[in-house]
């Protein structure tokens, strides 16, 4: 059946890729190990960044201005205030937090002790508007805004986080840039590792490549096993790095949380979510794909 041919070719490409890897296990181990070390560095920076972001959220630093509304405020009045605020270019985000949402947040924040709030009427907590400022906004803007908002009859109180919040944001941005830079460096390093490994593979199998060219192998067919190999190396390197990072995190985070309890609320530190782990492995496979494709295009011309 002609339409099944791509499937049979793919089966061959995958099995040949696996066989190719098995032919040089030491080279594969070296490549995966080196990639894992590189990816470990990137993972560490990403984990620090992710936790720093989490802390900023936990401390409310991502919401520089919180407007607490008076009891019994009507939804229409809230919308009117939000609409007026939304027209200001300095304001990036506005979120209306109802009393029920505020109670839920409080309960979540208390963790295991959240049950203390059982039976408590959510209306004891005020509704609020959480305002995020656009990047580059003058730090004094929050205070000016707070003064103006305080004059509105629907506003009970306005809380503005201090200048240190700005510094925390700057720090977070620095970590973010560091993560980006590390990502690019690690990406290049991983691609170079895959490039070198695939080049060795191409040299080792050059007779086979020559024969495949001769008998009508397409570029995808000839390159496929090498590209598969590169992707597997990348995915394995990333998986190994994430596994090592998890082991390290599991060993260290209780000490960090105990030793720096003022900084980290209990349970504030977190590891990557399953989706993020998946993205990490896919990122490794993607680097392997790019590195191996570049290598075979250069060394195994069809």
């Amino acid at each position: 059946m002609r339409w099944l041919r791509p499937f049979y070719s793919l089966t061959y490409v995958v099995t040949r890729g696996v066989r190719g890897m098995a032919q040089a296990p030491a080279v594969q181990l070296l490549a995966v190990g080196t990639m894992a070390v590189c990816m470990l560095l990137l993972g560490l920076v990403m984990l620090v960044w992710s936790n720093a972001q989490g802390m900023v959220r936990a401390w409310g630093l991502d919401v520089p201005v919180t407007v607490y509304l008076v009891d019994g405020v009507e939804p229409g009045q809230v919308d009117a205030v939000a609409q007026r605020l939304g027209s200001l270019p300095e304001i990036a985000t506005i979120e209306h937090v109802t009393a029920e949402q505020a109670m839920q947040r409080l309960s979540d924040g208390l963790g295991a002790d959240g049950s203390m709030l059982d039976g408590l009427d959510p209306e004891v907590l005020p509704q609020s508007l959480e305002i995020g400022l656009a990047p580059g906004t003058d730090p004094d803007f929050g205070h000016v805004l707070a003064e103006r908002l305080s004059e509105l009859p629907v506003v009970d109180e306005v809380a503005v986080v201090g200048a240190w919040a700005g510094r925390a944001h700057d720090l977070l941005e620095t970590v973010e840039r560091l993560a980006l830079g590390a990502g690019m460096l690690v990406g290049l390093a991983c691609m170079a590792i895959v490039w070198s490994t695939i080049r060795l593979g191409v040299y080792a199998r050059r007779a086979e490549i020559q024969i495949l060219r001769l008998v009508g192998g397409t570029a995808r067919f000839v390159h496929g096993p090498f590209v598969f190999e590169g992707m597997v190396q990348g995915a394995l390197g990333a998986s190994l790095a994430l596994g090592l990072l998890w082991l390290g995190f599991d060993a260290v985070h209780p000490f960090l949380e105990r030793g720096l309890s003022m900084v980290f609320a209990a349970g504030a530190l977190h590891f990557f979510e399953p989706v993020e782990l998946g993205v990490g492995v896919a990122f490794g496979a993607g680097l392997g794909l790019v590195g191996s494709r570049a290598a075979v295009a250069h060394y195994a011309e069809v």
Partner: protein
């Protein structure tokens, strides 16, 4: 009808002072179903001519048509589909030395995207055609020169190409083995495949019923002789090349 046509083909290797002409204004035609031999001393341009048919080189000038298609105007991605229609056998066999005869032949069939069972059946058939045991477990490096050349012919034959090119197929073999290989090639021609053999071995002229002889010297065509007395086109169903290129998107 000509299945291979060269029109004023010139091909040079190297650049500047190191520039050397391998073919100079060669025009020739090989008929469908022919057993043609390309004669000439070393450096006459025989191998270059075969490489041009396989689109492994590009001519500097002139056109080369295979089954009516100007092959050097093919897209790069279409060239593999041309090669599936043109089997090739070389003096140095070009086999995977650590692979068995079956594995060597199967490689050419995997390229076509065949299921494993069909690959095994077709490879076994091709090995039977060259009188080799398909179950032979010895790797190619443990086979004799004659056996290795048979494996190479089986590999070229497995995909049932319209054209079979052989570059000095008897170059590494003693006279007895050479005759066996030439008999095999003649048998392939009798089944309808056009065979073009490049050689300087005079045994070929004596042993095989040729339909065409092409003589090259210093890259120039010296003689192009037809031997109609050996043509028997009525009995030979000519194999025509499958269409190429394949539809876009095929992995194989």
């Amino acid at each position: 009808m000509a299945i291979i046509e060269f029109s004023d083909v010139t091909m040079t290797y190297g650049r500047g002072r190191k520039r050397a002409a391998a073919l100079r204004g060669v025009s020739l035609a090989v008929d469908e179903g022919a057993f043609a031999v390309l004669m000439g001393p070393s450096g006459a341009g025989k191998s270059t001519l075969l490489k041009l048919v396989l689109a492994m080189e590009r001519p500097d000038q002139g056109t080369i048509r295979v089954a009516g298609r100007d092959i050097h105007r093919l897209r790069r991605a279409s060239i593999p589909y041309l090669r599936r229609n043109v089997g090739a056998v070389f003096q140095d066999f070009k086999l995977l030395q650590d692979a068995t005869p079956m594995e060597n032949v199967a490689l050419a069939l995997h390229v076509l995207g065949m299921p494993r069972r069909e690959v095994r059946q077709r490879a076994a058939w091709a090995l039977h055609q060259v009188e080799l045991d398909p179950t032979m477990a010895r790797p190619a490096r443990c086979l004799s020169g004659g056996e290795q050349q048979r494996v190479a012919i089986a590999r070229a034959l497995a995909g049932e190409p319209a054209i079979l090119l052989a570059d000095e197929p008897t170059g590494n073999l003693d006279p007895r083995l050479s005759r066996e290989i030439l008999d095999l090639l003649a048998g392939i021609r009798d089944r309808g495949t056009t065979v073009l053999v490049a050689t300087h071995d005079p045994l070929v002229l004596d042993h095989v019923s040729l339909t065409q002889t092409i003589h090259l010297e210093h890259g120039r065509l010296v003689t192009l002789s037809a031997h109609p007395e050996f043509e028997d086109d009525d009995d030979i169903p000519a194999i025509l090349p499958a269409a190429w290129p394949e539809p876009a998107g095929a992995v194989a």
